[in-house]
């Protein structure tokens, strides 16, 4: 608009220069195409995961009925007379996850409340990165810790009235260590969420006579609920999907129990144990790996979608 007005006002019409490129840059188009192709790879990975799981899983269900898979009979897919009651290993996963929740979530939330509401800035600057670095410790080291430290510890302090102490392998020891493993995740994400609650809300609560604890539990935690719940779901889905700790410390005996003192087998441990053995391509054992993998994938995917929904639903938006 401005240029047209000035053109009308001045005696000499200005030379109009086109703002588009003088010549097309094909090289640049190729580069952008290549970059876009990189992005497509990530989609290909997802499609690949689904495709890799679906094919053998369909084959599996041609041989084993869904009813048999979702039954509570024994889980013995590698026996010569196999049976496929998947609830035995689902229960194993639930068992360790339950104990991980019992230990990890209160600890993680407590640590987050401490970091966000009580700790001085100096303490926080040291503690939070430390937690995050410790979260990067390889899982095989956590498994080693469970087997050679937590299990003997539990066996030493086991009270007599609870019956026999747990054996070398127990769901409880693995669960406690998984709990320890999810603490950094829960604490770090919850702390971020709590710090995003505006200070004015805290000050408002103090002005009304709230104590520090009341402000923390009735203002800050509810205000940051969506982030806190998302951190829980993320931690739980990490615990369900974790392999090495349960493989090393929880044993390999499929059992339908939530007893922490028992040796159990989780879905992940089944996949890892079976795959390390010599599995013939196309055998029913091979297909079982993929069926269990598909179930695990569906469970974690559902939890991830749930966490996204929860975050949307309970999000308080502050400006």
């Amino acid at each position: 608009m401005a240029s047209r007005e000035s053109a009308a006002g001045s005696p000499v019409a200005p030379v109009r220069r086109p703002l588009t490129a003088a010549r097309p840059r094909y090289g640049e188009k190729v580069i952008i195409g290549l970059l876009g192709f990189c992005g497509l790879i990530s989609v290909a990975v997802t499609v690949g995961i689904v495709a890799a799981l679906v094919g053998p899983t369909i084959d599996f269900f041609e041989e084993v009925s869904l009813g048999e898979f979702l039954s509570t009979q024994e889980w013995a897919p590698t026996f010569s007379d196999p049976s496929f009651g998947v609830f035995n290993i689902v229960a194993g996963s639930l068992n360790v996850t339950l104990w991980a929740i019992v230990t990890g979530i209160p600890m993680g939330l407590g640590a987050a409340v401490y970091l966000s509401e009580y700790a001085s800035e100096r303490v926080r600057r040291i503690v939070k990165p430390t937690l995050e670095v410790l979260a990067g410790v390889p899982t095989v080291a956590f498994g080693f810790f469970a087997l050679t430290f937590i299990t003997p510890l539990i066996r030493d302090v086991w009270p007599a009235f609870l019956g026999d102490p747990p054996g070398i392998f127990s769901a409880g020891a693995a669960g406690i260590v998984l709990g320890l493993m999810v603490v950094p995740i829960v604490a770090s994400i919850s702390d971020d969420a709590m710090r995003a609650v505006p200070h004015a809300l805290r000050e408002g609560a103090y002005a009304l006579g709230g104590t520090r604890m009341q402000v923390a539990t009735r203002v800050v935690v509810p205000g940051a609920l969506s982030g806190i719940v998302a951190s829980f779901v993320l931690g739980i889905s990490r615990a369900i999907g974790e392999t090495m700790v349960v493989l090393i410390a929880a044993g390999n005996s499929p059992k339908l129990t939530l007893n922490p003192a028992e040796s159990i087998q989780t879905m992940t441990a089944f996949i890892a144990t079976t795959a390390t053995g010599d599995v013939g391509f196309g055998t029913i054992t091979y297909k079982t790996l993929f069926a269990v993998g598909a179930l695990l994938f569906l469970i974690t995917l559902a939890m991830n979608l749930l966490s996204i929904r929860l975050v949307r639903r309970y999000r308080e938006i502050y400006e």
Partner: protein, 310 residues
């Protein structure tokens, strides 16, 4: 007169203040006790978590200390715990990580540049890519192992149980991490830099290549190193794509021969019931943690040294 009046007013005000403080200034005893208990509880939650995680490292260090010598790195794995070492595992891990770097760096950085600098995120396909990456980050590592087994080892790619199959599987595993970290650093480059370059007549790629990328490189390298330090400790997916638990010779190359990796060898030793093997495993864990410490410190140093503040 006036001073006397103001002094009286002062005294009244002080008395009123004292009365208010008496009523409102201190919390009821119950609240104070509850508050103190709560503070103790949350403090001990943080303390126990940190203590537990540090105990993990201290215990491995204490247990593996006697075996921590150069033999550990140069000896091959052995069924005799006294002679066992990690040589083939260390070579295997180096080979796998080289494959991961070659694969994940161009893929991850390319995707990040595309999504951050070129993609029009109102288009459905670009949003699809974003949602995808978010979901991929939450897939358990063992599922990537199954993907590797079904598609990379067998199936379409059919590489067989070779080291590069492990590299590719781990690359896909850390790809979302790399993309997210690189996008974050690209986003931190202020758009005024881009606008200035575009206003001077640079094309979008010239802007990206000569202005945005140089500013973002240190952050990207940091992100890549952190992702690699995650890949180096991964065990479960490798178990599915052929990292055999017991290999007494070094891998031949990325596309031939069997291989193993440091965490897999550690797992092999942990799984044996004899105490000597556990000591060996603990020593291996120290080596692994040492490597991770070096990588993490380097990443942090790099970030602090080269980070640009806008």
């Amino acid at each position: 007169m006036t001073t006397h009046a103001s002094r009286t007013a002062d005294a009244t005000a002080r008395a009123a203040g004292a009365a208010t403080r008496e009523r409102l200034g201190s919390q009821p005893a119950g609240d104070r006790v509850r508050g103190l208990l709560f503070q103790i509880v949350v403090f001990s939650a943080a303390l126990i978590a940190i203590a537990g995680l540090i105990a993990l490292i201290v215990q491995a260090a204490a247990k593996g200390w006697p075996r921590l010598n150069s033999d550990l790195l140069t000896n091959q794995p052995s069924s005799q715990a006294e002679e066992g070492g990690f040589q083939s595992a260390i070579f295997g891990t180096l080979l796998i990580m080289a494959g991961v770097i070659v694969t994940v760096v161009p893929l991850g950085i390319g995707t990040a540049i595309y999504l951050e600098e070129f993609a029009d995120n109102t288009r459905w396909y670009n949003r699809l890519i974003e949602v995808n990456i978010q979901n991929l980050a939450a897939v358990p590592s063992i599922v990537y192992g199954i993907l590797g087994l079904g598609i990379i080892v067998r199936g379409p790619l059919n590489l067989g149980f070779v080291a590069y199959a492990g590299s590719l599987t781990l690359s896909l595993l850390v790809l979302p991490t790399v993309i997210l970290a690189c996008r974050e650093t690209l986003r931190a480059v202020p758009s005024s830099i881009r606008e200035a370059a575009l206003a001077l007549g640079a094309t979008r790629w010239q802007t990206t290549r000569r202005q945005v990328l140089p500013a973002a490189i240190p952050g990207m390298v940091t992100g890549v190193i952190l992702a690699l330090s995650r890949a180096i400790g991964e065990t479960a997916p490798l178990l599915l794509v052929g990292a055999t638990v017991f290999v007494t010779f070094n891998p031949d190359g990325p596309f031939e021969g069997s291989y193993t990796a440091l965490p897999v060898a550690i797992f092999n030793y942990v799984a044996r019931p004899q105490e000597e093997f556990r000591i060996l495993a603990a020593a291996g864990i120290i080596v692994l943690l040492g490597v991770l410490l070096v990588m993490n410190s380097f990443a942090i140093w790099l970030r602090n040294r080269y980070a640009t503040r806008w």
